[in-house]
């Protein structure tokens, strides 16, 4: 164990030396972090957390300015990024909406207007019901929904976004049918579930943790191939790691995850992409980042280069299939 960590440290030191020796590209003016969500949204927390880690560890010499461009479900930010073609001082923070948004609406940018830099984490989705609901597990709830098509309400973020896509996938996999109610965001869907106005939601851990702690909602299963990382108990001795995966719970849909991604405009120098990928990789190894990922129960997963491209291709295909089935693809 010890040797491994020493090797890792050596490798790290070597990598550091290598980059400082290469130093092919460095930002020469203040770097702009474009957030493709409103203030306080998931992407906003993601970008500001990275900003605070970069300034704490002095990973970029230039000052960083965060701007929120959340209009049009984030399209505003990508269009703004597209406007800086060839300018590597504008870094765009998003999710898989970068490549999914152009399918469902005509938005003035294409996926090819962006250069992928890195993915830092996967945000998880869980199936939640009200805290005092009579269902012990996912199967019991789905049986109830199946017995009464269009009799149960699933709440989530806006239409044609991740939550509705996942709802559609569950419906396909199990043959149930919900009334889908779109709200302004995950926090609204969390409160509506706590208040008993809807029957379930598929919120990210971070969006429902407050309500779970209070016992107002409970998780049935997580749409992940493996259980979440162990954590401190949240409610009645149960933590994130104790939640069964949906497959274990008898729901035949293994994976649905949302990557937290970073992009540059098109036609930027390859050195600049390497510079940011390197900075973000260092960010992903800091204790502050680990703590953030753990606290928000996301799965830490750093991806760049081919790994990232493979992930995007797979995720893109899975989502596109749902969009086509549902007739959401904008003509």
């Amino acid at each position: 164990m010890k040797t491994i960590s020493i090797t890792a440290a050596l490798a790290g030191a070597f990598a550091l030396g290598a980059t400082s020796a290469a130093q092919a590209w460095q930002p020469t003016k203040p770097v702009e972090f474009v957030v493709t969500s409103g203030a306080g949204g998931g992407t906003d927390n993601f970008a500001r957390m990275i900003q605070s880690i970069i300034s704490k560890h002095k990973l970029i010499d230039q000052p960083i300015v965060v701007v929120n461009k959340g209009g049009g479900s984030g399209a505003e930010g990508y269009v703004y990024g597209k406007g800086a073609k060839g300018d590597p001082n504008r870094v765009i923070f998003g999710t898989n909406n970068a490549y999914l948004l152009p399918y469902v609406a005509k938005l003035g940018y294409k996926y090819s207007d962006l250069t992928p830099v890195a993915g830092l984490a996967l945000d998880e989705f869980l199936l939640w019901v009200k805290g005092d609901a009579p269902y012990a597990d996912a199967k019991a709830y789905l049986d109830a929904v199946k017995a009464k098509p269009m009799g149960f309400k699933m709440g989530g973020s806006q239409s044609k976004d991740t939550d509705q896509t996942l709802t559609s996938m569950i419906q396909d996999a199990t043959g149930v049918k919900w009334i889908y109610v779109p709200f302004q965001g995950g926090s609204a869907a969390a409160v509506q579930l706590a208040g008993g106005h809807i029957d379930s939601n598929v919120n990210n851990p971070n969006e429902n943790i407050g309500q779970w702690k209070a016992g107002q909602v409970k998780p049935l299963c997580v749409f992940s191939p493996v259980r979440l990382a162990k954590s401190d108990p949240v409610f009645e001795g149960k933590g994130w790691g104790d939640i069964p995966t949906c497959k274990e719970a008898g729901l035949p849909l293994e994976t649905f995850q949302m990557p937290r991604t970073v992009w540059l405009p098109a036609e930027v120098p390859a050195d600049a992409v390497a510079f940011y990928a390197d900075v973000l990789e260092k960010v992903s190894k800091t204790p502050e980042w680990q703590e953030f990922v753990g606290r928000t129960a996301q799965t830490a997963k750093f991806m760049k280069g081919q790994d990232l491209a493979d992930f995007v291709a797979k995720d893109d295909a899975a989502n596109k299939k749902v969009f086509e089935n549902e007739g959401w693809v904008a003509k």
Partner: protein
Amino acid sequence: MDNLANLMHGFSVALTTHHLLLMMAGVLLGVLVGVLPGLGAPNGVSLLLPLTFSMDPVSAIILLTSLYWGALFGGSTTSILFNIPGEPSSVATTFDGHPMAKQGRATEALSFAFLSAGFGALAGVILITLLSGWVAKFALRFSSPEYFAVYFMTFASFIGLGGASPLKTIVSMGIGFTLASIGMDSVSGNVRLTYEFDVLLAGVSFLIAVIGLFGIGELLLTMEEGLKFEGVAAKVRIRDVVLTAAKLPRYWLALLRSSLIGIWMGITPGGPTAASFMSYAMAKRSSRNPAKFGKGEPEGVIAPETADHAAGSAAMLPMLALGIPGSATAAVMMGGLMIWGLNPGPTLFTDRPDFVWGLIASMYLGNVVAVVVVLATVPLFASILRIPFSIIGPVIVVICFIGAYTAAGKGFDIWLALIFGLVGYVFKKLDYPIAPLVLAMVIGDKAEDAFRQSMIFSQGSLSIFWSNPLVTTLMAIGLTLLLMPLIGRAALSLRGRATARSD
């Protein structure tokens, strides 16, 4: 009584020299960003946010909330002096505040605004202190139909209010609804009315419309009327501030009513903007001489200001207890909470009592500090009006356009503000009211979303608006408010006929 003990503990956390200095700094910065239109509280808070990463959460939230209070006060200042609301919620303050300033009563208007705002804020905080547990539970009962009913109440209280013909009010409101629907529609997931122009993706910002309609429009009118503010001759004395303060108790009924409206709208998700409009409307309706409203009636300043701040502070409770941000500023602060490692939600009160009660205590102190600081700036601001218009006019134009640009950093918004300025001018000339347009722009899309969500809930049946006692009550109040002018008129004409017959 537990709450009181907690509050005392909170005071012991908040009442340190370090925190008091932070409050002063926050309030002063807030006044500064509030006075510049466009650079409102949300921008101010997000600019300061990175500075707070290294602070402990209590100090950080004290700094940010103080900045928020300061910005709210600063927003009222420009409403009164230049007819440019710095925040959506201070639009209603312009109706009587600006006429007062034009008549040379700027000091009086500003003092009334600040004092009543302070009163409203304290009323809101006292409620939070006493009823935090109950309110958090009550707010959970609100779903889309209830939200719609609250917005409906606000619109209903506003129709038939101004001097303009109802038809013109409806036209103005319709334009506001149209503008509000530009951009992404979350219920259908489609973009609307953008005509494939990228600049319209994010919609038309309320701030730009206000800067144009009120700021630029007003300047155009002033120019036509002969290049001067009528407040030039006014004397500015600190004594006037004290005299105005002495007059305030006379308006106790307005203060009380407006606080209640504000608190109610703060807890229910109506928010400060809806609260200030509604409070203004109620003040005018219940007044013995409603004709004076819009021409410089102090109650027309007191009512919206009290309600605005009562709602602003009461709205902190749903944010902390439920994790729903009640305003753009609250959303930024919530982002801050997450970064400091706190999870807003029902358990925040039990997990981190020192933080929550420190914050609540700082709301008492912060507002007192804010009122003292801004009252001291009244003579300074009021004397701006004594500068000749040929100097101050162009300065305001520049500030308006800078404000329009900084709101979102888009050059397009400068042109939009100019267009809104021309629209505002034409509206005034043709006697169309601007306020309904603004109201529809601010809460129109929320009302629309709530209505359509309700329709999804009920699968298309309107009966959902009578489906439980809470929503039925809200709708009944809304309908009564809507029909009251008609009933009043019918009663008058009936009485008139009766007198005629008995003659």
